[in-house]
C-alpha cells in the first residue's frame, strides 16, 4: 500500500464514450500492476454516465472502485479488490 503509484487521467469535456473506452484500455494495459496493488487508476470526468458504466464494468472485472464528487466533476478510482 505504501508504495502504490497513482495514474490520474483527466477526461473532462470529452465526447460521450471516450471516458469509458479510455478507462477500459487503461485497466487492461495496467491489469498486473493494479492487481498486485502497485497501481491505482484515477479518472477525472464530468460525464455523469461514466459514474454508472466505469464502476459497473471494473467491478465485473474483479476490481474495487470508488466514485467521489469533487466540485464540478467526478473522481473515479480503480484499484485492487483486495485493498
Amino acid at each position: 500500500m505504501g508504495n502504490m503509484d497513482i495514474k490520474e487521467i483527466d477526461m473532462r469535456g470529452q465526447i460521450c464514450p471516450s471516458t469509458f473506452i479510455t478507462a477500459l484500455r487503461e485497466i487492461n494495459l495496467n491489469k498486473n500492476e493494479i492487481k498486485s496493488e502497485a497501481l491505482k487508476l484515477v479518472f477525472i470526468t464530468d460525464n455523469r454516465d461514466s459514474t454508472v458504466t466505469i464502476p459497473e464494468t471494473a467491478e465485473n472485472m474483479g476490481y474495487g472502485t470508488t466514485v467521489t464528487k469533487e466540485e464540478h466533476h467526478y473522481r473515479i478510482e480503480i484499484f485492487s479488490a483486495r485493498q
Binding site: 464514450p17 473506452i21 454516465d49 459514474t51 458504466t53
Partner: protein
Amino acid sequence: MTLGGEWVTGLTSLVIGCIAGLVMHRSDFCMAGMMRDLFLFRRYTMLRVLALLVLANMILTEAFRQYGWIPLFPYPAFGPPSLSNLLGGALFGFGMVLAGGCVAGTLYKMGSGNVISMFAFAGLLAGSALYAEFHGVWKAFSDATVFAPGKITLAQLMEISQGTAVSAAIFILGIPVLYWWKSGAFVRRSYAAGYLQPWKASLIIALLVAISVIIIGIPLGITTSYAKFGSWFLNLVLPEHVRELAYFSAMPFRYANQLLGISYAGGPGPGYDDIALIQYPLIFGLVAGGLISSASLGEFRIYLKVPLPQLVSGLLGGVLMGLAARMAPSCNIWHLLGGLPILVMQSMLFGIGLLPGAWLGGKFLSGIVLKNN
C-alpha cells in the same frame, strides 16, 4: 390567429422543453448512447428504457385518441413510407453517434456546457441548410420510392382499426417490458448527484409528448427549426441565393388546432412563422433545462481542452445529422417518440435505419476518432 392561442402554444413548448431538458440531463437520457452502446459495448439497459417509453406513449396516446382528445390523427406532417425514411434514418444514426448526442441530446448537453455539443449544434444548422441545395433531387427520389401511397400507419396498410393494431403492439412490446420490470433490468446504479432513474425519465417524457399532442396537435419536433436557423445565417451572407432555393420558400407545415381555435403555417425558410412559434421555445427549453439541472448541481462547466478529433467528430456528426433530418424527413425525437407509438410506417423505417447507422458510427468513433485518445 389570436394572441391567446399563440401564447398557449409557445408556453406549452417552453415548459415541455425545460422539463424534458432537466429530466434528460438528470437521467443521462442520451438516445445516441442507447443505440451506440448496444453495438459497441453490448449494453441494453437504456434501450430497454426506450422500449418502456414507446410502450407508455402507445398506451397514453391511444387512450387519449379513444377519448377524442386527439382530433388530428395520424398527426399532421407524417406521410406514406418511402426508402428515404430508411436511408435518412441510417445517416442520422451515423451522425448522432459521431456528434455524441441526438438533436435533443445535443441541446441539453450544450446547456450543461459541453463544447463538443456546441460544435454539433453548429453542424446541425449547416447540415440542415445544406440540404436545401439538393432538395429537388431528393424529393423526387423520395416520391418515387413511396411504396404504400396514401397509407401512413400500419393499421391503414393492413386495413384494420388503429385500436386493434395498437393493442397488438402493446401486447407484443408489453411482454418483454413486464419481464424487464420484474427482473429489475430498468434500474441503473449511478453515483451522479441528483440522478433520476431513466425509467422514471421515460415515463415523464412519454407524458410530455402526449401533452404536446393534445394541446399543440403534434409530437415533439425540432429539426425544421435547425433548417430555419441555418437559412437565417445563410440569408445574412447570401440573401439572393436563399431566395432562389425553392426549399426555403416552401410552407409545407399547415394544420388547424381545434383545441386552441387557431391555424398554423410554417416552413424551413428564414422568416418567423408557426414552426418558429412551436419549435423555438422547445429548443430554448431543452437548452435551459440542461443549464438549470447542471447549474443547480454545481456541474455546469465549459472545458475547452478537448482533443481536436473529437471536436471535428462533433461538427461532422452535426452536419450529417442535420442533413439526414431533412432527408428522412425529421429526427429521432419526432419518429421514435411521436410516430412509432402510433405505428407510423415512416417512423418504423427510420428506426430500422438508425441501427446500422449507429453500428457504423460506433466503429468509426472507436476506430478512428478515439484511436489515439
